[in-house]
């Protein structure tokens, strides 16, 4: 049986004006378990708190009820008060008789009657409270960043700057990501490589950062502060430590016709290759699907020419196991496939290209060495049509497009159009747009410059059809302002393809038990207040894996994610919320219902031997809640048919007691 003290606050006249506080404290005196009941002007004042502390000691109270303002206001205050008097802070319950009583009801009888009922409910609840102690868990002071694009690079650099070791896992042979493929960046037109590659070098040289390139995350176990991760380092058949990146092998390799993915297949590379000149790590990789030596044991040229002796045809995939305290997801994006948009003739004509391909065509390190030549005949195009929103904002075509706005296309298309007009003033450039969206610093100015200074023709409307005819591409579109159908004979058509999350994100989300939206973008813990955290504790989001983003936005989010990680890793121990789910193993069916509703992946199962009621023993699958991960929402408690899962601090019995007290 509890020994409960009741403390009714007047809150000056805020409560006492509408509630007869004396009547309330008198009425609650007779409730079961109550041994002391009083009222005072300001319970939250020093004097009021001392009154509570004294009563706890004098009456050997095991629980207290404070009838006062909202628990959102002073629950923490009174918990501290109780703790100072030696009482477990979770033995405190608040009856909200201000915001939810005195302030919303007019007359004293009504207010008093309700305040008494709310007080009784709190007493009924505290009768069933149990002391709770938050769990503690250690923090592994190392972070994992998954993805080595600009988002991952920035996050890793920021974390390392704070003194914590960071590992970057990148599936490609080099870090750099999409930004490395870009030519210029909007709205300032800096050269992408000029601002990215120094950062890549910083990463390579930072002794806090390890890069696992050509690697994948294979398994994630554990929880915030204590993740156990298996990383598969794929065999690149080149000893990274020895390879100097001299490139001799990539020049001598006889297998010359491998499509070069860095240039989106617009030119070829060798079977042994370094993706681009500034690659980090700058080491060669052998493509096992193209290499004759690996396929049928005939060749070995690269090994012969390698002065360092770094070639190792026998290299195996390697599994690295490492512990991390925090994980940052930075898996980025890809343009969607254009295969299904046959109205734009992407599959029929080499001269219909995506904007990313256009980037490579204008890039000095690209297949045309920066000269704008059309892919089919390497002639200079004189009329270029840009089509915006290809696959974006496409609600009706889930199988080919995306419902959302891809956000970056308006700006890069303006950039492309401007650059073309700048370098080749003899070229006519048309941009078909539905809306031009330019919310960003200096963005609209940039777009207007493309129109006003560079003479790009912006046409409000969409392209309906592209038909290759001889050397031309017949573009049929609508001009909604002029209300006419326009026909343009273009030399090159550039499609602003929608972007989508990288395909690796979905399986990764499953491993991390991090939630995703229907488009496979990672969900943030709160759309406004916790935009860089995943709902899964210890998992953070950086860059376009969370939603379409341009570079400035990506970099700032990357920094934000890093600061959250630093905040986490700076702690020695994590203190949990003690109001968490806890299963009664004897009643648990192991049915997985709770696991399926848990937004945090806090529930796992173990097989345990139990002595059954009929004195036999049986191995049963039972749920276990990880206290460091559970946030205490209680979804599992209702999903559980047997009632084995309960929520500490909000136990079923406690809520039922409140219901009973209110409905008395």
């Amino acid at each position: 049986m509890q020994r409960i003290g009741v403390f009714v606050c007047w809150c000056g006249s805020n409560i006492a004006g509408t509630v007869d506080v004396q009547a309330v404290s008198d009425a609650l005196k007779n409730e079961p378990g109550v041994v002391f009941s009083t009222n005072y002007q300001y319970m939250c004042s020093q004097a009021g708190q001392n009154m509570i502390k004294d009563a706890i000691k004098e009456y050997r109270l095991t629980g207290i009820v404070v009838c006062s303002c909202s628990p959102r206001m002073h629950e923490a205050t009174f918990r501290k008060t109780a703790q100072a008097a030696g009482l477990n802070p979770y033995m405190v319950e608040i009856a909200n008789i201000r915001e939810q009583c005195s302030w919303v009801h007019k007359d004293i009888p009504t207010g008093t009657e309700k305040a008494i009922i709310l007080g009784k409910a709190a007493v009924a609840k505290v009768n069933l409270n149990a002391p709770l102690t938050p769990g503690e868990s250690p923090v592994t002071k190392r972070a994992l960043v998954i993805g080595g694009g600009i988002a991952g690079i920035q996050t890793a650099l920021d974390i390392a700057d704070a003194g914590f070791p960071v590992d970057i896992v990148e599936t490609k042979p080099t870090i750099g990501g999409k930004m490395a493929q870009l030519d210029k960046t909007f709205p300032t037109l800096d050269c992408a490589a000029c601002i990215l590659t120094p950062k890549m070098v910083d990463v390579a040289q930072n002794d806090k950062i390890r890069i696992f390139s050509y690697s994948e995350v294979q398994e994630v176990k554990g929880f915030v502060g204590n993740f156990d991760v298996k990383i598969k380092k794929k065999a690149r058949y080149v000893n990274e430590d020895i390879c100097t990146g001299c490139g001799a092998c990539t020049e001598k390799c006889p297998q010359k016709n491998v499509p070069n993915e860095f240039n989106l297949g617009m030119d070829n590379r060798r079977a042994i290759y370094i993706p681009f000149a500034q690659a980090v790590p700058k080491v060669a990789t052998i493509d096992p699907n193209a290499c004759n030596m690996l396929k049928n044991g005939k060749c070995g040229v690269c090994a012969k020419v390698c002065a360092a002796g770094a070639i190792d045809y026998k290299q195996q995939d390697q599994i690295i196991e490492e512990k991390y305290g925090a994980i940052v997801v930075a898996t980025g994006f890809n343009p969607i496939s254009m295969e299904k948009f046959d109205e734009f003739a992407y599959s029929q004509s080499k001269d219909v290209i995506t904007s990313l391909e256009f980037e490579r065509l204008t890039n000095a390190a690209g297949p045309t060495a920066g000269k704008l030549l059309r892919p089919s005949d390497l002639e200079h195009p004189h009329t270029i049509v840009f089509v915006q929103c290809v696959g974006s904002r496409c609600a009706a075509c889930a199988e080919k497009g995306k419902e959302y706005c891809s956000k970056i296309c308006c700006m890069y298309t303006a950039k492309h159009a401007m650059l073309v007009r700048d370098k080749y003033p003899d070229t006519e450039v048309y941009v078909f747009y539905i809306d031009v969206r330019t919310p960003g610093k200096n963005f609209d100015e940039f777009y207007r410059r493309a129109v006003e200074e560079y003479g790009v023709h912006y046409i409000k409307g969409m392209v309906g059809k592209v038909t290759p005819e001889g050397k031309k591409l017949k573009v049929q579109g609508s001009d909604l302002i002029m209300d006419e159908q326009v026909h343009i004979d273009a030399d090159l058509v550039v499609l602003a393809a929608a972007i989508e999350p990288d395909k690796s994100a979905r399986p990764l989300a499953t491993m991390l038990t991090a939630s995703m939206d229907t488009n496979d973008f990672f969900t943030e813990a709160h759309p406004k207040l916790r935009p860089v955290e995943s709902p899964t504790a210890g998992v953070f989001l950086s860059g376009a894996c969370q939603g379409p983003k341009d570079i400035p936005e990506t970099v700032s989010q990357a920094g934000a994610a890093a600061s959250k990680v630093i905040g986490l890793l700076a702690k020695d121990k994590l203190t949990g919320n003690p109001c968490i789910a806890s299963p009664n193993e004897l009643m648990c069916n192991g049915c997985s219902s709770c696991e399926r509703v848990c937004p945090y992946g806090a529930i796992t199962y173990v097989d345990k031997e139990f002595r059954m009621p009929d004195r036999t023993t049986a191995i049963r699958r039972v749920a276990q809640v990880n206290p460091a991960v559970c946030q205490g929402c209680g979804a599992c408690t209702v999903a559980c048919p047997s009632g084995a899962m309960d929520l500490r601090g909000f136990a079923s019995a406690q809520i039922i007691a409140e219901v009973d007290a209110i409905c008395k």
């Binding site: 929103c389 969409m462 609508s478």
Partner: protein, 130 residues
């Protein structure tokens, strides 16, 4: 919008099953329309005008019969608006209005004769009945 006719708008929406509000004004329907040059009102205008309840001009335009019902606009529309269905619905309303000569069930017996296929009556009845 003076000529707003909400009843007619509702009827068109009901017949066609098209929700014109889904249109985001991209114009891809008109961009893709092979009969564009022949039309006074173009596919995207059909959608906007129906949404605005401005339907009388559509009922009286030749454009109605220039639409080939090729469904290119339906296929290409990124929002699934299906303008061709709307055009067809306007056509149906126009047909039913021809001289307001709705056929009534009572009219059927008089029209029957031995040579007339029943099918013809049934389809006429369907077509000319509200």
């Amino acid at each position: 919008m003076s000529q707003q006719n909400n009843n007619l708008k509702e009827e068109l929406i009901r017949i066609s099953g098209v929700n014109p509000k889904k249109c985001m004004r991209c114009g891809k329907c008109s961009a893709t329309c092979p009969a564009y040059e022949e039309m006074e009102y173009h596919p995207h205008e059909f959608v906007v005008m129906v949404e605005n309840g401005n339907i009388e001009p559509l009922l009286n335009t030749e454009s109605l019969y220039r639409c080939l019902t090729c469904f290119a606009c339906v296929e290409r529309c990124p929002r699934g608006v299906e303008p061709a269905k709307l055009v067809e619905a306007v056509r149906l309303v126009a047909t039913r209005r021809q001289g307001a000569n709705h056929m009534k069930a009572d009219d059927v017996p008089a029209k029957l004769d031995e040579d007339l296929p029943q099918q013809a009556i049934v389809s006429a009845f369907r077509k000319y009945t509200k």
